[in-house]
Amino acid sequence: MRVDRIFCDLPTSALQAFENIKYATAYPKGAVLFVEGQAPRGIFVLCKGRVKLSICATDGKTLILKIAEPGEVLGLSATVSGKPYELTAETIDPCQVNFVKREDFLRFLKDQPDACFKVAEQLSDKYNNACHEVRSLGLSHSAGEKLAKLLLEWSSKNGEAAKQEPRLKMALTHEEIAQMIGTSRETVTRLFADLKKRQIVQSKGSTLVIRNKAALKLIASNN
């Protein structure tokens, strides 16, 4: 699996050095890897399972930035810069994680130019994602538009995009979807009911079928 993962596909010498500093750990579902505002202890390389990354307002409102997939390195920018973790990371599956302490990781980066380059690539990816998030939060008109965008994005990820009626597995609850697009749970439920009524989507158990992609695209493009 190493080959197609940005960070893990390292030359043997670097991999050897990484083996020596990592702690392989397993976490159950719902475990918190790190909390926003905490001083950075180190990085977490996600080997197996998925992790929810979120930020929190002082009033307790939560915004989910991303669902991290295996191969992603979490806590990277905080560990490099020494600033507090910007996000909270919580497992949503049982996860296998490689933890590396901050001092060890910084030394590793200095000694292994290849790894340093990989880290730069990972950070670039994350920056890309953050800009995307700013754009969608700051410039979308309505929750309906954001939900349509999110569904189209998900459907484009798992190779269903080319199909006439893409299907996607709904891994998140309405509450969590609300936190991804910055709205309330009630609004998400209402929007889904509306989409179903207009025959744009249809749910079959935990699978959502996009019946009318053109209409969904229209909702996503403005409103």
């Binding site: 930020i55 929190c56 307002a57 409102k61 915004l63 930035l65 990277l76 920018s77 905080a78 490099v80 810069s81 600033k83 910007e86 996000l87 980066l109 200095k110 130019p113 340093c116 380059f117 880290v119 730069a120 690539e121 950070l123 670039s124 990816d125 994350k126 920056y127 890309n128 953050a130 800009c131 995307h132 998030e133 700013v134 754009r135 939060l137 700051g138 410039l139 979308s140 910055g182 493009s221 403005n222």
Partner: protein
């Protein structure tokens, strides 16, 4: 800005204070060879969101406004970049389109480095690569701050004036 354009990074007095520019001399020498110094008047678009990344822009003098745009043309300012900052870094490294638009706010002196040259340079000079990792971490930190303030901080009504 009328003063003669500084050719070599070695002559730059501001270099030690700047995160990216403060490199060991062999790296600096290599950087001098791949950069091309350009003066841009105020209001120039250095890079445009969505365009394939051609390279990076090191702001030697002057400031640039970074913004993102919706399909309908609404614009949101992310932040103002100051002298010493490197623009277009993440897009160049991941060979994806530029995430933001950068427009000069002053007459600016900019060192432009092509994408390919930059990648070679970073592979050959590990100090520079490490600086880049630090810069990207900082960029990411400010981007997350922006996400927080837009997504959680204010109501829709009060953030409306930020659009223009």
């Amino acid at each position: 800005m009328e003063s003669a354009i500084q050719q070599s990074c070695f002559e730059c007095v501001l270099r030690p204070d700047r995160l990216f520019c403060d490199l060991p001399s062999d790296a600096l020498e290599a950087f001098d060879l791949i950069k091309s110094l350009t003066l841009y008047p105020r209001g120039t678009i250095l890079m445009r969101e969505g365009q394939p990344a051609r390279g990076v822009f090191v702001l030697c003098q002057g400031r640039a406004k970074l913004s993102v745009c919706s399909e309908t043309g609404k614009r949101l300012t992310l932040r103002i970049a100051g002298p010493g900052e490197v623009l277009g870094l993440s897009a160049s490294l991941s060979s994806s389109p530029y995430e933001v638009t950068a427009e000069t706010l002053d007459n600016a002196q900019v060192a432009v480095v092509k994408r390919k040259d930059l990648l070679h340079f970073l592979r050959d000079h590990r100090e520079a690569c490490l600086q880049v990792v630090h810069l990207l971490s900082q960029d990411l930190h400010t981007a997350y701050d922006r996400v927080r303030s837009i997504g959680l901080g204010r109501s829709r009504r009060s953030r409306a004036p930020r659009l223009h």
